[in-house]
Structure formats: structure tokens, C-alpha cells
Subunit: 335 residues, 2 copies
């Protein structure tokens, strides 16, 4: 019924092991033998049985994406990037939603990896920063690549974006547009990006000799509602800033809504900027000035270097920082 190595070996008149060597690209196979085998493989339509390979070699050709409830569009982009990398290498992707607050997160994941013989993991924030968890992975010799960690360890695989720099640039741009009174909505405290973006903001303010006002700096958690609530608080007072920089687009949308409900016109009465360039940024009116991170590309790279690593390929086996782009849209007005 199904074609096995044995069938191929008979057809090619070589031993089973030699066929195995060829399909695994092992060294020391005569060029001619290799050709013969490949012809038979093609002719018979042989495809190795992954379960058998996995059982014997302890590799599954599966990588897993671990995430804890991120933004939906972010997740979709990450997935899509990983997926494209998998397609090239023939790997498969299994996804695992997990609870970063769970006390047995570590065990759950170790069991999961062990059960499926997962070859490697890709972690998204906030998992990227759970040192305790990462150490456990190291201890168990589980390969992984992290997306957007707060501390970039030289010995581990990661991809990151220049959040600090991008926030600094966007803030500078807001200032260039003539704004002197600028509010800021912070992101989820557990996400490394939050503090990076905030620091970029603050440093830009200071370097341009402006001042911040604590009433205009609110703690959010990246959700629409937290942005909305922050907006309600800010607009409740008499003294409102001329621009607000929210550390992601969902919160920026929240701010916009609260402003519009209050009767404020955007950008005439107040300018708004976000971060991420998520779909909503361009689908609301006025469209949001924001920062675009190449999320899909980052995830793609993470998957590539991860797979390169456990395939022993050193070339391009490099962690990398990606650059974000400023996207100027209608929500930012020149004063």
C-alpha cells in the first residue's frame, strides 16, 4: 500500500541504510548511488514515515509556537511568518496557547515538547521574558527562539525590533509638528516593549527640552478598553494635551473614541498616535499615525534561525534586530 524504504531499496538495488543516507543527505554516498536512489524515490513516490523517523531519531520535524493571548492580528502575523518559513523546510507548525501566570506552565510545556518530540519553540511576549521558564528550557536542552525579548542574550536566538528608537522618532516627529504638550499611554507592564517605548518617549521629550505632565501619562495594558479609560480620565480635566502617544494602536483607538465621544475633533482638537500599524490603524477615521513593525518578517526570521540551528546550519544563524517604519497619517496635525 504505502511505499517504504524497503521498496525503494529493492528498486534501486541498494541497502535500506543507503536509501536512508540519501534521504537524510548524509555524507559519504557515492554520487552515482545517490542518483539511482533519488530516481527510485521519485518513481515510487516515496515519502518517509514521520512517526517512524520520529520514534527512532527523536526528531519530529515539528516546531511549536507558544503564545499567551496576544493581540489577534499580531498572532495572525506571527503565525503567517513562521508558516512561510516552515513551508520552505518541510517542517510543520503546532500551536500552543498557554497561560503565563500558571504555576505549572513549565511542566505543561516540557511534557508537551517531550510528548510530541517538538524540535524547537518560538516564544512571543510575554513568554519571551520569563527567565525562569527559559532557564528550564535550557536545562532540558530544548531549542527555542524568542520574539522581542527585553534582554537580548548573546547565546540565545532572538528577533527584536527597535522599539526604543521608533518611539523616540515618533515622539520627535510629534514635537516637530509643533506639539509641546504630549501625553503617553503605557502598555502592559509585563511586555518588554512597554518600557522600551516609554523610555523612547521620555528621552525624546527631555532631549527636546520639553516637560511631561503626570496627568497625561497613564498606565494601560495594550487593550482598547484601557486606552479608552485613560482617555476618559485625561479628557475629564480642563487641561488637556495637544497630542497623545499611545503605546499601541488598540489603545490609540480607545483614546480616539473617548475623545470623539467628548466632542473633540481629531486631529483639530487633539492629535493621536499609536504603535504597531495594526489593521485598525488604517480602518478608522481619521487614520492613525503609527509605527509599523515587520512582525511577519520577524517571526519568519525567528523560525528560520531556529530551524537552521538544529539542522546544524551556521550560515545566517543570527539573531537580528529589525527596523520599524514611521507611518504618518491623518491623526497627527501640524500646529
Amino acid at each position: 500500500m504505502t511505499v517504504t524504504i524497503k521498496d525503494v531499496s529493492k528498486d534501486a538495488k541498494v541497502s535500506i541504510k543507503t536509501v536512508s543516507r540519501v534521504i537524510n543527505n548524509e555524507a559519504n554516498v557515492a554520487e552515482e548511488t545517490k542518483k539511482k536512489v533519488l530516481v527510485s524515490v521519485k518513481k515510487l513516490g516515496f515519502r518517509p514515515n514521520k512517526s517512524a523517523q520520529s520514534l527512532r531519531s527523536k526528531r519530529s520535524f515539528i516546531i511549536a509556537l507558544l503564545y499567551d493571548n496576544p493581540n489577534k492580528s499580531y498572532l495572525a502575523d506571527v503565525q503567517s511568518g513562521i508558516f512561510k518559513a516552515c513551508k520552505l523546510t518541510g517542517y510543520n507548525l503546532v500551536i500552543q496557547e498557554c497561560d503565563y501566570k500558571s504555576p505549572d506552565l513549565n511542566n505543561t510545556i516540557l511534557e508537551f515538547v517531550n510528548d510530541l518530540k517538538i524540535d524547537g519553540l518560538i516564544l512571543t511576549p510575554p513568554l519571551s521574558d520569563m527567565d525562569d521558564f527559559l532557564k528550564d528550557l535550557d536545562k532540558n536542552k530544548i531549542e527555542y527562539a524568542v520574539i522581542a525579548p527585553s534582554t537580548k542574550k548573546a547565546e540565545s536566538l532572538y528577533v527584536s525590533s527597535n522599539d526604543y528608537e521608533a518611539a523616540y522618532k515618533l515622539t520627535s516627529e510629534i514635537i516637530k509638528h509643533g506639539h509641546k504638550q504630549i501625553g503617553f499611554i503605557k502598555g502592559h507592564p509585563k511586555h518588554s516593549a512597554s518600557s522600551l517605548r516609554f523610555n523612547g518617549f521620555i528621552d525624546a521629550i527631555v532631549n527636546h527640552s520639553l516637560e511631561t505632565n503626570d496627568d497625561w501619562i497613564k498606565q494601560g495594558n495594550f487593550s482598547f478598553k484601557s486606552g479608552f479609560d485613560a482617555g476618559v480620565e485625561i479628557f475629564h480635566s480642563e487641561n488637556i494635551p495637544s497630542a497623545i502617544f499611545a503605546s499601541n494602536d488598540s489603545m490609540a483607538a480607545g483614546i480616539m473614541k473617548s475623545a470623539q465621544m467628548k466632542g473633540l475633533k481629531i486631529p483639530d482638537d487633539i492629535s493621536i498616535a499609536g504603535f504597531d500599524d495594526s489593521p485598525i490603524a488604517d480602518e478608522i477615521w481619521p487614520a492613525l499615525t503609527t509605527v509599523r513593525q515587520p512582525v511577519e518578517k520577524m517571526a519568519n526570521h525567528a523560525a528560520k534561525i531556529l530551524m537552521a540551528k538544529f539542522n546544524g546550519i551556521e550560515e545566517s544563524n543570527q539573531s537580528k534586530e529589525f527596523k520599524s517604519d514611521l507611518i504618518l497619517r491623518e491623526s497627527l496635525k501640524t500646529l
Copy 2:
């Protein structure tokens, strides 16, 4: 190092096969023996090796989600629903993005299923309606459950929502609000939901003795841009409707943006309604009147009945139609 069945069998003083029987919940194991084995399993922390199980039994305890570029938040909801079902049963989920237009879609998927010994598939639109593809799955005895198919076949597993009825209700509600001139933006022609929603709209119009105007009925494809373009066309003319019902929220947001850019006030100058209650519906201003489908629950149910089927459980092994809720928000005005 790792605990195998053999270890358990020694510890429990039974044969290997008996242990296998216990962990697979097979019949005809004496109650006392079963207990003994379970004690040993627990004591030693035994976990069956999935690769070996899969190799021998041709089952992988993996199901796969197939999708082709759906809306990001839809995808996330579907995934999440499936995921919760998997957690209960110990199954794992692998995802597979595919191209429904590709000529070798069928082969790609068959190979994928065969390679990983995938136990079953869950299909989202527009794959749910590709009869040719489904027939190929049937022919190869691959189990699957479809989400929102256009034709509900009694012999296959599906979950659906009452799109027709919901569109009818929402249209009636718009009419009740005093609107007599109502536009409609159709969805992606390949998605079954598109025609159902359109039919619901038309029938409501007719049953309320109203008339449609072809200038106000535009073909879209569920994307923001297609909604935006449709809006631009409609608002370009002198004669505009008092309300527009877009068959999903992204397109509704597109309409809103085009209206607002034209200087039209929502809902004072024009009312807008969408469908799906995607995140954007509540994050724009004014918030969108729409229809909420229990997407996550639907996907959850699809996964459950799928797994129940190949586990031979007949109970609750039923396809099901889910009800959607009308969500009335600010974008709809009473005339």
C-alpha cells in the same frame, strides 16, 4: 531514562499488552488489574511515546486546522475555540495555511494528512464549500468537520450559523428604525455566508414592501478596501440611501471611513450596519450595529464532534446551527 510500557509492566507485574490495554481504555480488563496498572503508571510518571503509538496504530492524536487567509480576528477566534476542545481531550493542533485556488491543493493536503497521520481536519470558508476537495477527502477516508458550509450535508459534520435569519432580522431592525432606502454591500462571492446574508436582506426588504435600488447594492469581498470603494461609489452620487448594511464589519468600517471623508456624519446623515461583531465594531466611533456570531463556540463544537466521531463516541456527535445575536450600537439611527 524515559519510562516505557515495559517498566510499568514490570512494576505492576502484568504483561506489556495489559498495560497498553489500560492506557487505551480497552474493554475486558479486570477492574483490579486496571487499578494496579494505573498506580504504577502514576508512580513512575509514565507517558506513552506518541511517535511509537502513531507508528503502530496510525493515529497521531493531532487534528489540523485548514484555512485560507481569513479575517485575522476570525482566525484567532476559530483557533481558540478548537484549542479549548483539544485541551480537554489531549489532542494537539497543527495549523495549515493553504491556497484554495491552487491546483494541487488536494494533493498537498492529502500528503500533509498522510505524513503526519493527522486524525481529522477542520475547514473554514471558503474551503468548507469546495466540493471537489471534500470529495477527495471522503474518498481517502479522511475525517473532517466544516465550519459554515453553504450546503449542509446530513452525512458530514458541520457547524453553521443562521446567517440568513440574522441578516433578515438586522434588515428588519433597520427598517423598524424608519429606514426605507437601504443599501447593501455583498461579501466574497466564494463564501457561503455572502449569499445567505444577501438573501436575508432581500427577503426582509421585499416582505416589508420596500424596494431596492441597484445603485446601492455593491459587490465587495469582505475586505476593508472593498467596503471603502463601494462607499466612495455610493456617496459619489446625489441620491444616497439613509442606511447601508455591509455584510461584514471590515467593509462597514470602510463605508464609514468613506462617508466621514465625504463629510457625512454617522449616524445623522447615514446609518451603517455590519456583520460579525469583530473587534473593530466596538473600537470605532460611532460603534457599529452588527450581528455577533459565536465563532469561538462554533469552532469549539466543530472540534468536539470531530474528535468524538473518530473516538467512536456517538453522544453529542451532532452537527449544529448556532444562533447569532443582534448588537445594536450607535451607528444606527431612528429616523
